[in-house]
């Protein structure tokens, strides 16, 4: 019997798990995919939203600003890339000014410091590549960037170091209260737990509706992106938003924490929450809309396209806390669409404490504070590199040439407490295969290392779990010409 079962290992589930690591209790995270951070938490804009956009007074607004305030400290304790370049919300016609003023008012109500409205000249001085037809912008100095999957993986490691168990490839089918425990039925057997926490992203609505008196509707809303190579000098320092619409925050241009540029996302409601395909129409739309902010946008240095799916709840707010009208011991954080990444540290703290309070879990006397993920070789100074190579010669072997990732780092990605088990998992943790050649050169070497470290036979190493093996077997005898 577990004390807590957390369903879903996105940034929200991992933040809750990490918080629960401060308490003594048996905590298990069940995740349908082969790794943490395989849902929305791996495919989003990576913006730490300052909080000017959420409707004041909502949970969304409160958790957004709280999470944004926590993010920098959390990232530095976890060793996760974070930056705060600021943002501009661009308006292109005369009536954009009142709309921007309304945003400014919301920003003030939500407690976002430093925002102001600026004119064309100041905008172009900050970001010369912005469309010169811009009229006004809301300047948001507190807007930040975070590497979302690195954050999720680091939270999971910290949770695991404090005894939280993670079980991947396990999809929760149903939740039922039996006696004084929850019966959690999965495609890999049944589990019992004193409490359950549903943070299953786009999959959360179905589980919620099994146990709650108040039905929710989670609408999968897809967002497609172009990702560009990091070429110097950066074409943009800041995040450029357009005025928000009812469908979301519009198409943005932003640098990432690693200096790549993102164009996107679209906002399309789709029938199936796990459908992360990109489409020709979607990508065309991104390009068209991005050119309003950045007329020079082109796809010459594009290295990949991708999409993520938002878990939009019809009511529009986050739903967090005890599940309404359910037997006791059921908690949830659902409908966590944008700014859910930003809010995750705050959601984790509140939900973790709630559940611990409900269970009366004592503090964990052996709590281990997060160990920061070591600095990437590519980010080290010359002297740091020298020392790294002396301590571990595997730093001397570069595996991924595009992102300069060494063998020492790839091995560590697999050895971490919640280690990579597939190629995409290595990529999210240490960026091998994330560069301009997209793994063309390093994929087979990464597969060998995964195999050596885990004992998974080489030919079974997958891209992203069970049905995604890269190879179809050894070659047989070749036919003659």
């Amino acid at each position: 019997m577990q004390d807590v079962i957390i369903i879903g290992a996105g940034v929200v589930g991992c933040a809750i798990a990490q918080r629960l690591g401060r308490y003594s209790g048996k905590v298990l995270v069940l995740e349908a995919a082969n790794d943490v951070s395989c849902g929305a938490s791996k495919a989003n804009s990576g913006i730490v939203h300052a909080g000017y956009d959420a409707v004041p007074g909502t949970d969304k607004a409160r958790l957004n600003t709280k999470g944004a305030r926590m993010m920098q400290g959390l990232c530095s304790s976890l060793g996760v890339p974070y930056g705060k370049p600021g943002a501009l919300v661009l308006g292109f016609d005369a009536d954009s000014k009142p709309a921007l003023e309304a945003l400014l008012k919301k920003a003030k109500k939500n407690g976002v410091p430093g925002c102001r409205i600026i004119g064309r000249e100041e905008i172009l001085a900050m970001e010369p590549r912005v469309n010169p037809e811009v009229s006004y912008a809301l300047y948001v100095p507190e807007s930040g960037l975070v590497s979302p999957y690195e954050l999720t993986c680091a939270l999971a490691d910290s949770a695991a170091e404090n005894g939280v168990q993670f079980q991947m490839n396990t999809r929760v089918k149903s939740l039922r209260r039996e006696g004084d425990a929850w019966l959690v039925q999965t495609d890999r057997g049944d589990y019992t737990s004193r409490t359950v926490v549903n943070c299953a992203g786009v999959g959360a609505g179905e589980l919620h509706n099994q146990i709650s008196s108040r039905q929710v509707e989670i609408i999968p809303r897809r967002g497609q992106y172009y990702l560009l190579d990091h070429t110097l000098p950066l074409s943009f320092q800041m995040t450029l938003f357009q005025l928000p619409t009812p469908m979301g925050k519009g198409v943005l241009v932003t640098p990432t924490t690693h200096g790549n540029i993102l164009f996107g996302p679209t906002a399309e409601d789709i029938p199936e929450g796990e459908d992360t395909a990109t489409t020709h129409e979607g990508l065309q739309e991104v390009l068209k809309k991005v050119r309003l902010s950045y007329p020079g946008a082109n796809t010459r240095t594009v290295i990949t396209t991708f999409s993520g799916v938002r878990a939009h709840e019809k009511g529009g707010d986050f739903i967090i806390g005890a599940v309404e009208g359910a037997p006791e011991g059921a908690f949830e954080a659902i409908g966590i669409e944008s700014p859910g990444l930003t809010a995750a540290p705050a959601i984790g703290e509140e939900m973790g404490d709630w559940v611990a309070y409900f269970l009366k879990l004592p503090a964990n006397p052996r709590y281990i504070p997060p160990t920061p993920v070591p600095k990437a070789f590519s980010a080290m100074t010359e002297q740091e590199r020298r020392v790294a190579c002396q301590t571990d010669p595997d730093y001397g072997k570069v595996i991924c040439r595009c992102e300069t990732v060494t063998e020492a780092e790839v091995r560590r990605a697999v050895r971490r407490p919640v280690g990579a088990r597939d190629i995409d998992g290595v990529k999210r943790r240490v960026r091998a295969g994330m560069g301009r050649c997209q793994g063309g050169f390093c994929m087979t070497r990464v597969m060998e290392i995964i195999s050596e470290e885990t004992g998974i036979p080489f030919e079974e190493v997958s891209k992203k779990g069970s049905d995604s093996a890269v190879l179809t077997g050894p070659i047989g005898e070749a036919r003659n010409d």
């Binding site: 172009y226 990702l227 796990e274 992360t276 395909a277 990109t278 489409t279 020709h280 979607g282 990508l283 796809t299 594009v302 290295i303 990949t304 396209t305 991708f306 010359e382 002297q383 590199r385 020298r386 190579c389 002396q390 010669p393 595997d394 730093y395 001397g396 072997k397 570069v398 040439r401 300069t404 301009r436 050649c437 997209q438 793994g439 063309g440 050169f441 994929m443 087979t444 080489f458 030919e459 997958s462 891209k463 992203k464 779990g465 069970s466 049905d467 995604s468 093996a469 890269v470 190879l471 179809t472 077997g473 050894p474 070659i475 047989g476 070749a478 036919r479 003659n480 010409d481």
Partner: protein, 430 residues
């Protein structure tokens, strides 16, 4: 503690055929203090995975496999006592030629070189660069990666294959996969012509009845874990898919052979100017870049179809580096810019330096046409004056073409600023 950079005369980056030939030539021309750096564990570059034959016809008048071809240079380099350090990655080169490298054996090291030859080769364009829509499952490989998996690791990347792009590696892999028992459904090419060598189309597709679908492209990829199908469509003259021509092909593998990109990240760090057309450094007829003492050759300079030409070009680059190290300077040389006229894409070299005094030897310009031309004329002009107008039976983007400039012709360029290559339908006369 800052360690001092070690001094060296010449560093060659890359031990593929280009780097090896350049180092051999430099050593023969008297450069004693040199080293070749290679990040892989073996020298030979991309040739190591090309186990098919067809290499060396021009240079050795023999049909060798890739590794056999490479072996000849490797052996010669060894016999000449040229140090080739493998497992050594060059991380950075500064404009004053401080070269940072890292290896498992020696950790981080810094050299200060008097001259550097760039011979880093090229990489393949990945799926992302084409922004092919659809899912992102396992089973999408660049053809060169698939070649490495089959030829060097002994595994199959799939059994039911569609190939996008008709570059040479894709064509070679169509045959290789077929011989290994895979079904290759089609080779799909966006352009109305193939970018591969004609001999490869015949020997790798036609001989195995694999359809080459010109003016087609892949517009969708399906399958969540592994590729389940791709959808192809015919494209119009604007190269956009024509609605109604879609065709879904079930398969488990999509191989991409959609172009090679010279690997010039190091070059950019040095401050070397890169040509937008060749995507390689802008060089003069001594293969020297805009940074004095920095030379480039092989696929890092411009993508070659035949290794024989890589070796020839790189030999010249190595000799030029030796001359540079010997103190030779082009003082007083006339500089002539080479420009691509209509029909031409990416002439190398882009600058000619004509020495004072007598011009002893001619030189060979390399270029590609921008599409297929039959029975056309390659015309070389200086200003309005036509210097050469030669009949060419066929020029195709899939095969690099050359034009020889004789010493006499070069003499006539002394007062010119610009040399222009163009393709014309008729013979041109001044």
């Amino acid at each position: 503690m800052i360690e001092k950079a070690k001094a060296i005369d010449l560093l060659v980056v890359g031990a593929g055929p280009a780097g090896l030939a350049a180092a051999i030539a430099a050593k023969k021309a008297g450069v004693m203090d040199l080293m070749v750096l290679e990040r892989e564990e073996e020298p030979g570059g991309i040739l190591n995975q090309c186990i098919h034959n067809g290499f060396g016809l021009h240079r050795f008048r023999e049909e060798l496999t890739g590794p056999e071809y490479a072996q000849r240079d490797i052996r010669e380099a060894r016999d000449l006592g040229i140090p080739v350090r493998c497992g050594t990655m060059v991380l950075d080169i500064t404009p004053d030629k401080e070269v940072t490298l890292v290896s498992r054996e020696k950790g981080l090291e810094i050299f200060r070189a008097r001259a550097v030859i760039l011979a880093m080769g090229c990489r393949e364009r990945p799926r992302g660069a084409l922004a092919i829509p659809g899912t992102r499952p396992a089973g999408v490989f660049s053809a060169g990666t698939a070649q490495k998996i089959v030829n060097m690791m002994g595994y199959m990347p799939g059994h039911d294959v569609v190939i996008l792009g008709s570059g040479d590696i894709g064509l070679i892999m169509a045959r290789r996969m077929t011989l290994q028992g895979a079904k290759v459904r089609a080779c799909v090419e966006l352009m109305p012509y193939s970018s591969g060598l004609n001999r490869n189309i015949v020997q790798c597709l036609d001989d195995y009845e694999i359809p080459l679908m010109l003016s087609h492209t892949v517009i969708d990829v399906k399958g969540r874990g592994r590729v389940e199908s791709v959808t192809i469509a015919r494209v119009g003259e604007d190269r956009l898919p024509i609605p109604g021509t879609e065709q879904e092909i079930p398969c488990d593998t999509l191989l991409l052979s959609v172009g090679l990109i010279p690997e010039n990240e190091l070059s950019l760090g040095i401050g070397v100017t890169i040509s937008a057309t060749t995507q390689g450094p802008v060089v003069d007829n001594r293969f020297q870049t805009n940074v004095p003492g920095v030379f480039a050759c092989g696929n890092v300079l411009h993508v070659h179809d035949l290794v024989d030409f890589v070796s020839a070009e790189s030999t010249q680059a190595g000799e030029a580096a030796a001359r540079y190290l010997g103190g030779y300077e082009d003082t007083g040389a006339t500089e002539v810019r080479v420009v691509d006229g209509p029909g031409i894409r990416g002439t190398v070299p882009q600058r000619l330096l004509l020495p004072q005094g007598e011009i002893g030897e001619g030189l060979e310009m390399m270029f590609r046409p921008d599409r297929v031309y039959n029975n056309c004329f390659l015309t070389i002009k200086a200003g309005e004056a036509v210097l050469v107008s030669q009949r060419r039976r066929i020029l195709t983007p899939g095969e690099m073409a050359t034009a020889k400039l004789s010493p006499q012709l070069l003499e006539t360029l002394r007062n010119e600023k610009e040399l222009r290559l163009e393709i014309t339908a008729e013979k041109q006369v001044s």
